[in-house]
Structures are given as C-alpha cells and as structure tokens.
C-alpha cells in the first residue's frame, strides 16, 4: 500500500468523522460502500473508534500535571519559534497583490472600484469589516484570522514618519482607521457611501 493511498484513506475517514462524530455501524458501512477501494482502512478505523466506551469522561480525575509539565515547553517553543504556516501563506498572497490586480480584487470581493480601500486594508491601515474579510479570505483561500494577523503585523511594522521640528508635537497613529472613516474620506456619492457602510452591518 502506498503512502498516498494511506493518506487519502485517512483523509476520507477524518472528514467523515467531522460529519459523524459518533458513527454507528450503518454509518461506517455507508462509508465503505461509497469508498470500497478503502474498505480495509475504513473498517480498521471503525474498529479502533468503536473500541472506546461511553464512560462519562467528565468525572473528576486528577489532572496529569507531570505529563503537562513534561511537554508544555516543547509546545510553547514551537508556537513562539515557528511562524504560523497559514499566516506565512496569507502574507505571501497579500504581497503578491500588486498594480491593476488591486482594483480587480476590490471589485471581486464587493468593495467596488476603490483600490485605495483595499490598499489600506492590505497595509493594515484600515480595519476591514467582517464581510470584506470573509470575501477576501475566500478569494485568497486563507483563514480570516491569518489575514488579520498579517494586517496587524503590517500596521505595526509600517514606517513611522519622521518629523521636522515645528511648534506642534508629532503624532503617530497607533490605531488603524475605522471602515466608516475610511469610506467617508473618499467622499463618494451618497448611494455608494451607504452601500459601503452597509458592508460593516454584520459586525
């Protein structure tokens, strides 16, 4: 049996369990009938999953502190020392959006022909409403949370403007601009402004 075959079988079983977290024999049989080529792998998964009994797992038992202590550093090291693959991927995809693509994507994700808004979002200067983030996430095929991490990081890393000595004190923006402020600053027609502001209705 090839590794690819095993991986494919595993994938099928794991996805099946997402839809049927407590499958019975009939559910497993249906899966076998749908994927007879993986019958043995499915049967094996059914046997192993069936070997867990329904004892109430919420009953109080001593927490295994020893196991926790022995492994937590390893997990924390991994979390802090390795970048999130989804954030890296999101960053790469965002970096690749350039030139005329920005306007095309703006229209595709429902913002309209206003690249300045998408540019601001991608640079972390404008807080995008959830509906826009959702559309962008679907378009780029990266998780929303990863997008937000990239935008936040871009905003934090953005160059702080230098100031020549004047009478006033220099001001550095510490927060991204709200969607409403960004839309209103474009001074579009009333209809377009309302349409764009409505994008943040679900928030």
């Amino acid at each position: 049996m090839t590794n690819t075959f095993k991986v494919e079988a595993k994938y099928i079983v794991e996805n099946f369990l997402m839809d049927y977290p407590n499958p019975n024999t009939k559910d497993w049989s249906t899966l076998i009938d749908t994927h007879p080529e993986f019958a043995q792998e499915i049967a094996d998964a059914a046997i192993f999953h069936g070997s867990f009994n329904d004892t109430n797992i919420n009953e109080d038992v001593a927490f295994d502190q020893k196991a926790y202590d022995a492994t937590i550093s390893q997990v924390l090291n991994h979390v802090y020392q390795t970048p999130s693959p989804s954030v890296l991927e999101a960053n790469q995809k965002i970096e690749a959006i350039k030139g005329p693509q920005i306007k095309i994507i703006s229209i595709t994700i429902g913002i309209g022909p206003y690249p300045v808004l998408l540019n601001g979002i991608l640079a972390g200067r404008i807080l995008a409403p959830n509906s826009v983030l959702n559309s962008l996430s679907n378009f780029l095929k990266v998780p929303i949370l990863a997008l937000q991490q990239v935008f936040q990081s871009k905003f934090e890393q953005s160059v702080i403007p230098s100031f020549k000595s004047t009478e006033s004190k220099p001001e550095v923006k510490t927060n991204s601009k709200s969607w409403e402020a960004a839309v209103r600053s474009l001074e579009l027609s009333a209809d377009e402004t309302v349409r764009l502001l409505k994008l943040s209705d679900e928030d």
Binding site: W28, D44, F48, S51, N53, L76, Q149
Partner: protein, 239 residues
C-alpha cells in the same frame, strides 16, 4: 472547503475584539457548561494563527489548550481497554501521545484544519493513530497468510488454503454479536488487521461473502478462514 461551526466562528470574532486582560480571564474558565467558556476549536484557531504572538497572551492560550489536550488524552485512555493496558507498561504514554498530537497539529496545512471543526474528535483520532503505532511496534505476531502447512508427504502449502470452507455462520458469531460493543472492538484491535477486518465486514456490517472477500482482496474460502481465526482468538480474549 470545510468550515468552522458558525458558533465557533462568531465566538472567535468576538474574542479577538476583546482586551487581552478579558481574554486572560476567560481562559481560566474550565467548566464547558459556562456560557463564557472558550471552545477548544477557538483556542486551536488562535494557536494556529499565532494570535498575539508579540505578547504573553499566546502563551496563555497555548497553555489552556495544552491542558485540555492532556485531559482529553487521559480521558481517551480511561475509555479504552487497550490503551489502559498499554499505559501499564508505559508511564509516559500521556506525554508521548501529547507530543505526537502537537506534531500533527503543527503539520496540518489545510485551510480549515479539522481540529478547528471538532477538536475532541480530532484529538481522539490522533490518540488512535498513536495507539496503532504502538500496537504495530508491539505486535510481532505473523499474519496467518504467511504460515505454511506441510502435509504427510512433505508438500508445503499456504496454511490458509488448508482450512475448511464452511459457508454458514457459526453459532459463535451469534454469541459475538451479543457482546458489549466496545469490549469486542477492544479485543479486535489486538488481532492482525486482515483478521479483524474479516470479522468487522462479516459480523458487524453483515456483508455477504462475495463482498467480504472483495474488500479483503482474497478468495471467499480465505475470507472465511480469516473470520474463523478471528473468532477463535476473540473467544480466548473475551473469556
């Protein structure tokens, strides 16, 4: 593309608007009946995206999730006879399984990994993977398919071909069907794969012999023999 539970999605979106101090307070809630309890799927999403990596908050989120991983693995062991047996001989079973779990967690590159969909199911699936790995290491028994039988004249043939081909289900099968499901499955786990699968296809799923043989990739008589072998071993294990 698989999607998160809308309830988890909403919870995630709400959570990331909160101040870090507020999230820290919520992380202390361990009772999943509490309405403010953060679902493990949500914590997993935050860890995966390295949410708030510049602060200590990510560490706190990771610790909370790791705590649940340890509790979950411990619960799996308590619910599984084979794992309980393996734990007797391996005092580090929980931590080894936890390390394996996290290795798989960090390797997953799906857009929405299954641990963000159903964390408990994903965790049990990884525990099973690790259990299978341990059983494979431990199980040095040869498959019956490789045994050979030598007759009086010195001719050798595959053992499996020498077993009689009785096409009716034995009375033992009916007894097996009445067994406690998890106990039976637990005993099955310890059999060689072909034997346990033969049992599962025929006794559990009640497929006809043509199908059983097709799934096992062998002849009907061989499938019958695999079933008989599994029954013989199960009878011993379930006594």
């Amino acid at each position: 593309m698989r999607k998160r539970d809308p309830k988890h999605e909403a919870s995630l979106n709400t959570l990331i608007q909160l101040l870090p101090e507020h999230i820290e307070r919520l992380l202390l809630i361990n009772d999943h009946h509490n309405s403010e309890y953060i679902a493990s799927e949500v914590l997993a999403s935050l860890v995966r995206a390295r949410y708030s990596v510049q602060s200590d908050l990510l560490g706190l989120i990771t610790r909370a999730l790791h705590r649940r991983v340890i509790i979950g693995i411990h619960a799996c062991i308590r619910r599984n006879e084979t794992l309980r047996t393996l734990a007797i001989g391996n005092s580090e079973l929980v931590q080894d399984t936890a390390s394996y779990f996290w290795e798989k967690f960090f390797e997953d590159e799906q857009l929405v990994p299954n641990y963000e969909v159903r964390f408990g199911v994903y965790l049990q699936d990884r525990v099973i993977d690790y259990m299978r790995h341990l059983l494979t290491e431990e199980n040095t028994r040869e498959s019956m398919d490789t045994f050979t039988s030598i007759d009086e004249e010195g001719n050798s043939s595959s053992y499996i071909d020498t077993v009689s081909d009785d096409l009716d289900d034995s009375p033992e099968i009916n007894v097996m069907r009445l067994q406690d499901q998890s106990r039976l499955m637990s005993a099955l786990v310890n059999l060689p794969q072909k034997e346990r699968n033969a049992f599962y296809f025929r006794v559990e799923c009640k497929y006809d012999w043509v199908k059983v043989a097709e799934f096992l990739g062998c002849s009907i008589p061989k499938a019958r023999d695999l079933l008989n072998l599994s029954i013989e071993k199960l009878q011993g294990a379930l006594k």
